[in-house]
Amino acid sequence: MNEEIDEYDIYHQDFTTVSEWEVFIARIEEILGEWRLAKSSIPKSAVEYTKKWITKTEEILFLGQKYTLSYHTLDFSRSSDDSEGSEEKPLMTHIHNGLWEATSSFMDDDDGSQFPVSNWFGLKRFLVLYPSFPLVDGSLIKLVMSSANIAFANVDCGVPFFVKIREHWQHTYLGFYEDNQYKISFDTIHLKRISNQCSHLSGLVSLFKSKIASPVALDAVVVSTKFSYELKDFEAFTWKKTTHSNEFLSIDGFDVKKLIELPFGSEKNPTSSVLLNAIWPKFRECTIVESSTFSDIDPLMAPTWTITLKMREKINCQLSDIIQKMMNLLEDNNLLMDTLGLSRSLGLVNPLHKITEAPITISKLVKAAIGQGRNTSEFKGPIADDLLMPLLYYIFPDAVEDDTFNYTEQLEVEFKQDSSEHKLCSYVKTSPEDGLVWRLSVTAARLYDAGGLAYLAHLWYEFAQELQYRWERRILVPGVAAGIPNARTCLLHQKLQLLNCCIKRALEGSSSFAGNSSEDEFFDCTDDEDGEEQPLWDRPAGRLNRLGEAMLKNGAPLFVPRTQDPAPKTEDQLEEDAELMVRLGDDAKASELRARMMSASLLSDMEAFKAANPGAELCDFVQWYSPRDWKPEGGGSLGDRMLLPGNPWVEAWSVARPVPASRQRRLFDETREAEQVLHFLRSRTVSGAAELLLPAILKAGAIKAIEEGVTSGTNSVGGVDQRRTYEIAARDLYEAEKEACRALCMRTVLGSSVEGKPLDSSGRARVLHATGGSLPAPVRKEFTLRVKDAVAPQVMRAALAADMTIVGAFTERIVCL
């Protein structure tokens, strides 16, 4: 019968009864194994630690409750090749060294770790088991601790293990670490009230000694002490806020200078408290006495004084407030002109509606310029004329005689290569500093802050009207960098550059119509003897200059023609073009179609070339245009690539007629482009307008912050899209502004000293003077007690404030007989 038992069943039947407790232990072991925390996996030679904590977490269920097991380690530079030679020490020694070194810091120092235990005990790596509920039940604590102990031993863990106990707000952790020689217990006591015995140094020293329970006499205990005094409401520390108001809106006192000054800093005193720490870094017990009846401790005698500033959690920063208000507009997808009820009259409601009709009203500036009276049917915006006019004159200073606010002649766009130290918001696209986009944006932000969306819309409306007027009268827009749209500048600036290109082109066009001289179009060809004999239709036209010594195949000199420049485009137009090309797909046919789309410029150049070089062949054109496709053999011939069948070059050449650039169809239709820019601006949604204005506002904010002494930029590189980039910039500015507020407070309180560093004697004198020569009772006392006994360093720390926390790390020898 026995032979008939199926082996499969035996091996796959679970005969054990696994308790929940065992599962819990097994789970911890599994995680520790996964994280490779066995002693054998942890580097034992000295490594350089950075200050960055790396964390791993896993969740565990035990008795229906959730626990989070997390591993925390300081990142270290992996120069393992070099350190291989250095001496390997047991992990226990590293932990003891860390513990001893950490006694120079205090419990309320911050080492950037999520849990205080690393700072208390100088740990570079540790584990924490964190229950999701307050672990207060004594027997459960024992159960969890012994589970941790067993798991720790089973995997031979190389990292101290802590369990968070008691209420979550209490910083109480029980921890341990052991190897085959020693065991360290990390204990924490937290009492809501201070016990009498522990309220002073002598009591703590005897507690410490009783914990060590050394059978032999100990060395003298070494003590560090820090007494903290809260300094409140002292005259010398009062906060002087920078005033910011919207008083520029009042007509009487209107001052553009007040308008353009962006507010900065906190409205209220951002300091919540100033702590003076009197520190005795190191003394032997008995040198200073503090008992329940007597105290030697006099803060004025403390060797070191430091100041800690506590800032309010939330500081209202004025610049960030304004920026945040603008950022909030990004959510509003209504037409901006709807705010004024103007969408219909501007033809913006129906997208199919032509926008080319004359504007309903003319700009305020225009009227001022031509001295017209007030038209009753005219649009009346919410901003009073008395306020509006100076604003418009500020943005368009060339409209008025007064040249207080004229733009500088040369508007340069500064890129970040030029000013590497000004890294704040360097990833936001810029526009010339104090140029038109800049002034418009800052004005818009201030108006919106002061008067709401209607004010912003009104300004935008007048801005668009003024541009319309300038286009019609061919007056260049001031305060914009010269040239074709520069993709490194913000979109609004590019749009204005494009508009200026249109205005310039229109100006050139009208002047060449007026004086239709032949000088422009016909190259002076006195050297060309055949010129006279050529029939009129075959006379060369539109020559720019000779191409070196190059000759046509027919022996005539080769002339470079005047050509049309490619149409200037803004980044959104280029994106549209690219999308169109992408949508065609990537097969051969689409590729051909693209070549055709792209050949407008090629055809125009060929026609100009033919006009400038009568009788020229394609190989002559190629000699100029694509010299590597030209072979000198036989007076010039085409390279292999140009001889391929279905060649767009050959095709374009065959249809090209000799037409000089001046008589060709324009590659750039300035009227259409200008109307498009104007329509683009008028038809923005609220969020669209905010998107156009934000780059310059953020940049102006960054410059303001730098003026206010912010030096540190962040390493941000901007986001994946425009919105995200704005959010990152706004956040960076907020941090900068907060930091600046903090720095200002520091300066007020600390003078030239640095927070957390010992005050110099003049600093001490200042503080003492401000407090009136005496200090109040300390709000917090901290003691660090340490001694090296025969086993290892033993450390205890006590922090006494309203409540009391005592932590200790005690090492004992594991006795194996």
């Binding site: 993709a487 490194r488 490619p566 070549a595 792209m598 496709d629 391929l644 941000s716 986001g719 994946v720």
Partner: protein, 218 residues
């Protein structure tokens, strides 16, 4: 400048996790189009029609279980096309800057092209210098050493390639994708909030680097 970078999912095309836009630039007839066709179609023709303006091809590759769609733009190298092609530099995350090892002038122009990239592209765009036509050893005028030195001086990586003999073509693209991914993860590190954006914020370099061997054609 960073607002233009496209690596988000395209709603219309769900067949990839990321999209990178790459550009191949360099003097006329150094072999840009051949190089692209070798990579995208694994084909070689001794002569392609000289590119008019700009064209592109698409290739999807896998990197750490992620589908990366490469939109590779091929540009005309002629001087007259500079204005048109540089307009497309924006939004490109990587550049393959190519010269012809049999043509000194194309090598001498490399510095100019670098200036163009600096002027018109995104600041974090990654560049690889490529000396093409390395199969034509007997006509070589630019030594590999000079190429390497120039690359070092420019702070970019360097490969010699042959579209004809299919040497290092794949390696160049793969390396470029690697460099871009590393750069991306770096920026993500300094920008943890981006991780909240879901799939597109995932780290790409969690796994150990695969093959960095320049001579590997796998």
């Amino acid at each position: 400048m960073t607002g233009d970078v496209k690596w988000q999912k395209d709603a219309a095309d769900q067949n990839f996790d990321y999209m990178f836009k790459l550009l191949i630039i360099g003097n006329s007839s150094v072999g840009k189009t051949s190089f692209l066709f070798r990579y995208a179609d694994d084909s070689f023709t001794s002569a392609f029609v000289s590119t008019v303006g700009i064209d592109f091809k698409v290739k999807t590759v896998f990197r750490h279980d992620k589908r990366v769609k490469l939109q590779i733009w091929d540009t005309a190298g002629q001087e007259r096309y500079r204005t048109i092609t540089t307009a497309y530099y924006r939004g490109a995350m990587g550049f393959i800057l190519m010269y012809d090892i049999t043509n000194e002038e194309s090598f001498n122009s490399v510095q100019d092209w670098v200036t163009q990239i600096k002027t018109y592209s995104w600041d974090n765009a990654q560049v690889i210098l490529v000396g093409n036509k390395c199969d034509m050893e007997e006509e070589r005028v630019v030594s590999a050493e000079r190429g390497r030195q120039l690359a070092e001086q420019l702070g970019v990586e360097f490969y010699e390639t042959s579209a004809k003999e299919n040497i290092n073509v794949k390696a160049v693209f793969e390396r470029l994708v690697d460099i871009i991914c590393d750069k991306m993860s770096e920026s993500l590190d300094s920008e943890p909030a981006m991780l909240a954006g879901g799939a597109r914020g995932q780290r790409l370099t969690e796994q150990p680097q695969g093959n960095n061997n320049p001579n590997c054609n796998c």
